[in-house]
Symmetry: C2
Subunit: 403 residues, 2 copies
Amino acid sequence: MQELQVLEQGTVTTPRGFTAGAVHVGVRSDWEKLDVGILASDVPCAAAAASTRNRVPGASLVISRKHLASGRAQAVVANAGCANAATGKRGLDDAVRLAQLAGQKLGIDAHLVVVASTGVIGTYLPMDRMAPGIGKISLSSDGGLDFAKAIMTTDTRPKHVAVRSRDWSIGGVVKGVGMIHPNMATMLCFMTTDAAVSQPFLQSALAAAVEDSFNMIDVDSDTSPDDIAVVMANGLAQGDEIDSSDPQARLFSAALAQVCVHLAKAMVADAEGATKVIEARVEGAASREDARSAARAVISSLGVKTAVYGRDPNWGRILSAIGNSGARVEEELVKLFVATPDGGELQLFDGVPVEVDPALAKSCLVPADIRFRAHLGLGAGAATAWGSDLTENYVRLNSEYTT
Amino acid sequence: MQELQVLEQGTVTTPRGFTAGAVHVGVRSDWEKLDVGILASDVPCAAAAASTRNRVPGASLVISRKHLASGRAQAVVANAGCANAATGKRGLDDAVRLAQLAGQKLGIDAHLVVVASTGVIGTYLPMDRMAPGIGKISLSSDGGLDFAKAIMTTDTRPKHVAVRSRDWSIGGVVKGVGMIHPNMATMLCFMTTDAAVSQPFLQSALAAAVEDSFNMIDVDSDTSPDDIAVVMANGLAQGDEIDSSDPQARLFSAALAQVCVHLAKAMVADAEGATKVIEARVEGAASREDARSAARAVISSLGVKTAVYGRDPNWGRILSAIGNSGARVEEELVKLFVATPDGGELQLFDGVPVEVDPALAKSCLVPADIRFRAHLGLGAGAATAWGSDLTENYVRLNSEYTT
């Protein structure tokens, strides 16, 4: 397979024919930051999306799902500070109006505009400030960073990446960083590519990529009503259209998955109050679904999250989390390992406790990236999940501020 | 139905013919507290139990399940400080030996002894200290409080209650208070009664009581490998045996449920680091199962837990939690309320946000008991769940100490 190049500074405006920009309109009166952004393609795109399974989806998401039903989109208008969720008919009207305002500005049909809102649930969008704000947004081919900043809420930094093949590139931005759980993390994610991609293949590639990235991370077991990941393919790289039978299909899927995993891990690393990224790799499970469940249970467990934060090699909590996951487990076959700072592995459990040097075990929990590996000894199922640790600062952020 | 009297100071030795006692043996070398206890009946009992669904059950629980399969028991030997979980064959041998030691001391068959261990996972029981310790336990009819103390781990206080009818009483003790989740909370619960109860009816009454109490609380979404709730009925009150067709069946079930709910709420109130008990009542759900899921989702949500801790009336997180629960929800039909300090209710959501005085809303989150009520407007399903808030102290307790 062709080599893929990761551009750490890449973003949604890295692929050809995409522009973006953002302004500060004061969606929240106490915020100074950029809070409304537009991302646009020069030409209509094939578009695919994955969104929250929350039964009370936000109004902006409801409208975006309608617009995306055509499999086509050309722009995104997004805001932070207000989720436009639990807002009833007025919220739906506001979302339609946002699409119209962005469409008018760009000279495109409002149905080609995706609307995304993130922030406090149960407040209305300040349309009187947003309408003139949208008019002032200046779009450019280096506006991706501003767009990434405009969707941030409790994020401490913009999160973006691009992956490039010989012929095309895929860029992405994402925001977190609370209410993050495997059933679509609480997030907005926008991805762009100049590859020509058939819409059905784009949708299936996105679904597969999301399954192994955004659906394998956890901050706090919550899922918001606004989560959406969208990818738009404008075809300006001029190659043949990629579909599932195309020789480039595998490469494109791999690139899209790489972007999603990068952004998923970036969200976990910037999770509210977090100091560490915990990776849980489960191998030898009876099935792939069992491996996924077990890996997610480990990184979702508050017992594991707090022990890692406290650098306490309390591996019993990992075993217990696997036992709770619903996956088939036979205790006497389970092996548990933690990565050592020198790149090796320390075995903690081998059907029975392994005697280890407590100081060595503790040293494995000092780095910012902690890796656990479990082998269940039952089959060939494997999966990896990523979670943050849980700290006093998470509690402070979520109790002292309305987010 | 006959009146039931709640005895706040009642415990497992309140019903006739039960004795208990405890000693300090130093299961954990850093603990000074009582840590091994015995609870015994003068005569063999009908016994029923509910236990964890964790796939890696602790060794003590494995042995207890075997012993309880007969539907009969006469005593419990329990320890805190070591879960005897993830301990393989040695752990099983230790649990069998504990039952033998207690049986020898009491002059009863070891198969009539329930063994329960709670504490750190992945360490072995210090049998060299436990064996002589068990010999020194002095049992008496006022030993219930010491027994309740002996099973405490991070609990800050013993938790016990009894409920009395004209003819018999039911007493119970419980320990928490971390790794508490609806799928059998992390807990040991022992209940006794001097009523004569048929074993099949005792089992079904217990299952029903656990479903509405221990399976409706949450501290931190975790479930331990050792959870068990046991009830032993010795019949010394001399009445007719209560079975499902007996006129007293409803009264006994109600009393058992009352003991379980009392102990469940006591666990939540003493949850690690907690400052508040959050009650979520869901009504008008499409089914009882939907109501249960929705109520549990609310009290399990970290967003809700931290907002309540911070006295932030951020009801959008409650609506979102209900939306995540899997229950059928139609946003425009949902009504949300919070109990006011004067005993009334404040409506927060009525299909759309209700304008409320922020100071009044905040005042509802000041008391130690916070009550939310949601009406889904879809059917007759109703359920109540209880959870703790999430505080910096929870994080500290779980990161700075190995528990």
